[in-house]
Symmetry: D4
Subunit: 219 residues, 8 copies
């Protein structure tokens, strides 16, 4: 892999030692390494190897050898409630680290539709939107109805009782009556941002996940 292309470590279910081993092997070759689902113990484990890293606590992400990238395009990260913010931040920090400009629209759940409508002007500027919501997950449909760009829905496990760990929001988003909406796994802010980045780069003519320049194939 080319130096400079981001690499990703999914930390959940790995020991700090395993993560340290992986980070050590990557450091010589990569910058902007993303360690996702990283708690403070993972952060400390990485700090013990290098202090050239930054911990985004709310996003549960450590970026190792962070390097500024000039952000391109525009990805909207929209989320329904306060409890969805960790997932939203996982998406936002991932997208930014992958080199995208990101607009955050938090706490715009559909029970207070006017807050979301007030965001519309900004939402319309995005090349791709990420809609993050737990409970009934209606946000993806409403955002999908408002914007004309692709929307990636992220159901979250926020809720209780009949939310069944995010199942309600997941089914809701999969059945979206708005066209242009696709869905990733429950709480998968990273996955949504990864695909959003691919789309935003296509829109702006920037380079793809393999570091190859993406140009319009048929102008």
């Amino acid at each position: 892999l080319r130096n400079g292309v981001p690499e990703v470590i999914y930390c959940q279910g790995k020991t700090v030692e395993q993560i340290q081993g992986i980070v050590e092997r990557m450091i010589p070759h990569h910058s902007n390494i993303l360690a996702t689902r990283a708690d403070s113990r993972v952060h400390e484990g990485i700090l013990a190897l290098t202090d050239d890293c930054r911990y985004h606590e709310m996003a549960r992400i450590v970026v190792v050898r962070p390097q500024p990238v000039t952000p391109v395009g525009r990805i909207a990260v929209v989320c329904a409630g306060t409890s969805d913010i960790p997932v939203a931040e996982e998406a936002a920090v991932t997208a930014i680290t992958l080199g995208n400009r990101v607009d955050r629209h938090y706490d715009v759940g559909v029970a207070g539709i006017h807050r979301l409508l007030d965001s519309c002007e900004d939402l319309f500027k995005a090349n791709v939107a990420i809609a993050i919501a737990g409970m009934e997950g209606a946000l993806a449909s409403v955002v999908g109805g408002l914007v004309s760009c692709p929307v990636i829905g992220v159901p979250t496990s926020v809720g209780y009782g009949a939310s069944f760990g995010g199942l309600a929001a997941l089914l809701s988003m999969l059945n979206s009556c708005a066209s242009g909406v696709s869905v990733v796994n429950i709480d998968n802010g990273f996955g949504a941002a990864y695909q959003a980045s691919l789309i935003n780069k296509l829109a702006t003519g920037a380079c793809d996940e393999r570091g190859r320049r993406t140009r319009p194939i048929n102008p």
Copy 2:
């Protein structure tokens, strides 16, 4: 039971003969008898007994010995798409027969939020709203966020794949992030209208399901 109070027969899973038997026993004592989930064969079976009946085909309801009642209050019946109309009509015809004024707001799904917002002024006049939607069922939450009256959500079995026969809409409505929303069974337009009627009658001081006048207990 008092003469004049509506009686209800749930026809699904009953033979035409069984339904005829029940209708015959009721006719001497009741008017405005509701036969719900009635297909054309049920209608014909009832016609064979009496032509003092009216068939609401879309609602799948036969009203036997229909009698005009001066409608009171205001119930809003709101539905998302064309395919939800049979359930919406079951609700509307039930509510009207039970003596309520009904406003229909059809085809106002959340993927085109502006159609719903245009209905707001009228929605605000209702004492109670019934929100009917299949697929992702987001309508209940959005309506619940807009109005300040009680909202009864009716998930419908409209959809395919991961709608799982209305489960997606049901879970969605049960997890509504809007306060003031409760839910009835999938496709149960009758049940929603029945409870809405109780509430509307309480609001207008009209009589309850047992024919007793409902007055504010503490003015």
Copy 3:
């Protein structure tokens, strides 16, 4: 929002710091602020800001700047067993704080139907009843069959094995053979009380969730 109208904070999944921030912003403008799903650490966090608050431990609710409201109407809170009491109290305290008169009927599960039948005279006085039960959730149907006012069922997560975290009671209530029953999410005592309050206020001509006076639209 008008001073005097209750505001609500759902504490589960929020840090004490986040809750303190929200309370601080609300205190100047509101009284009777409800902090639901509040454990003792939340209570202490709020006490650190103000001692003008009251902790209802069983209900897991802190009322901040509690102010006496003359209660109107009558809401019956009916629950099946001892283990359902926290949910019942969440409903009762919410309804009282929202300005409703509340009658508690606890420990009247259907396995001992005579205790419930003994409550009937009192139940008949209610404008709306809240039926709370875990395990098989049969209470909602039996109460719905007895009373002629609207009934809001609250399935609880009480039980084990095939109760599947409240799913059995939820499905049971959604399939109630009694007319006039609607359902809210598992353990959602607050949501039931909120809708019950809207209905009770409609019945008594008191004001709605937005502080506007609710009058019968068609007398």
Copy 4:
């Protein structure tokens, strides 16, 4: 197997030819042969072999070589609604053919609890009760609370939407808050009657499924 002891053929999923084959092999050795889940084509197929048979249409049972047995003890078959009657009749006809006295209590669903309470005196005479209900299945708990004999619950597939083919009633009965209730498969009227017969025979000192006399082991 002893001549005279009832034999059972479960007809669903078997061809008329297969059923004829089985009946032919049994006729020389057995009387009171039960062919359950038998539609009219099965009845005709059996009639082609012998007219010494009786078709219980509502119960969907053909009894081949029916022979009067002096009924012993008392089994109560209790069912909630009209649509549950086929399952109730499967239970009643099975129990009668197995030599038990049967009392039918139909249409005593919990939404009208007084009808059930009116049956109590009779219910108390039973050695064992079978409680049959679809939708929310609350009947099993209420009957279980009323009687002091064993209760066998039979959930039925009657209902729609969130009844999920009888799952709601099944889970409801499994979570019964009344002691002394056990459950058989959805719609399994036969199975309930078979076990009820074993219990009733134990209570009356009659013979068991193998034709051996059952006496109290420790008086």
Copy 5:
């Protein structure tokens, strides 16, 4: 309630204080009080009130004011594996306290069918059998096929992965191909023993749950 009839407290989800309160109210009137799902803290809480109690640790049951009852009849408690023993002991201790003679057949899972077959002679003596198994729950069917008395299946939550907390065993037992098998909730050893006791008492002519003598109604 009559002095001498066993009373039951289900301790799970109750505080030690609540349990102490209930025990205190019962002690003057009852003996052989069963406190089920009782851990050692519950035991200590009860000991603080009275030392006239006995803790069955494996069964998780405290019997308060235990009194010898001459056991009648015969109940077989059969279980598949070592991990099912706590549920089996809950059943056995309950049945014994309710005054039944109990035979334990433990560790006779179907994977080693010969151990179960070796138990047959003893099993045949029982008036009723309780079959307890987790994982695939096949024991209920095999026992049901062997014995001619009623069998009550108790699925347990023993297992992992696709056992889904006892669901696999529950569904397995509900679908038993053996006649004469009914089922109680997952891990509900108490419920199975309670019903088994009713049946065993009927068989032996002893008294019922209400303390009334149970005699064969038709000799």
Copy 6:
């Protein structure tokens, strides 16, 4: 809406008359109208209005007033087996009608991985890939691992038994271990193509769903 932009009618659950009504209202203002989930009766109903239409039988789509559009970019439609072709054709015909160049790669299921690998060179040219598979749905992950463009997975209801109507493939795709994969509803070829078209248009600088030209926002 602008003349020339494609409009869509979802025909499932609508009567031929309803569809004719919608088509008639659209014809004066739109071309390339897509009627999806259209069987031959729908086709005939539309033919009765106009013969300016084309029926894609395998795709179950009627295009009314079809007009050639110069296709831009490149969308790969990849499907696993013969039975998935109706869904694949729904996607392909939708994408083509919306103005995209489409490459079909059919019958390249993962059980014969070499057929898929042989398609790689072509797959690499796509701006976006649609991966369609039933049964275990593994195709989405394998395609996602091969290409560096966004992948939209479409689970299909192809399969039996534990495929549970497409649930297995749906869960499989949602859990894809490949980055860059999102998912739409079971059998939703239309929805995948709609989003793929939005992405492909962004990549090629063509116009969006509202007919506005999409340009890179930050070059």
Copy 7:
């Protein structure tokens, strides 16, 4: 592919024309072509091409260009009830066509354990056993406990109510307490036979699915 190696067509969900096309392409190169899930219309469609075929009606399999193969080894096909026979025959005919010797043990369900025990001597001769059962699926565990060869369980969709289309049997078999049992999809007699054939060929030193001779790698 080598001439002489069996090829397989899964007919469900394919038109007769599609199947004819596939058969036509295969006939020149293969014999013993298996067309599974073939109803009589499929049979007739193939007969229209060639009469060198044999229809196994119960197994729903057409073998095209059937050629005798000297059967090797020994596979036991064991099934619980009459209704499971179509799946058992699918397995048996597949295994025979693939060149294996097959012993059928039908109607040996666990409710009558002695019939199964009587088969033991024969079962012990098998290199691999296929255990086929619906309802509670206990057969796989009991067979697994008896034999010392690998057992492949096939849950069937036979049953009703809580069998949920084979789910109960599937979960039961996956949780088998017997070692040496693995499971294939519900009703997948073909898949079980295919793997059983691979194992039986390994045991006998015959050739594998690719026609290569399978020898012990380390003697």
Copy 8:
């Protein structure tokens, strides 16, 4: 049981004391005793009895009285990701202890198909392959398509959200489009290895689980 044949103790859900008791009874008669699902406390408990044991920490297995066995044949243990390694090691250590030669192919998930393809030459040498994967479980199908030996799939509980504790991988593997794949319970590395050992021994002519020599029955 013969001295020398491995015995197995499943430690999950057993106390250290129970495990010590079982080990003590086995030690005089067996070597190569497998204690699976053993944490370090179990290890210490066994060490307290004997130091003739070896703890495989990653596999969570203690082998008591380990004895070298000359390994025969060849079993491939293939796993998708780092988090699946505990299950893979449970399989590998079990297979080795049972006397099989084992090749480990770890971290060859389908998202990077080329790593798996690079393993092919080695995979082709196996008599049987075990494919272990969580998340979408696609590995079993891809391996099944590549190799011509039997494949045993082991879904793991690795994943989050819509993996539902391994359900996604389980359903995926059960629906494998590759022939020759069967499945064991989620995380059941032991069970897969046990069956793989039976197959490998059949292939190599070594002895079976009962210590009897397995020879080709029909050469």
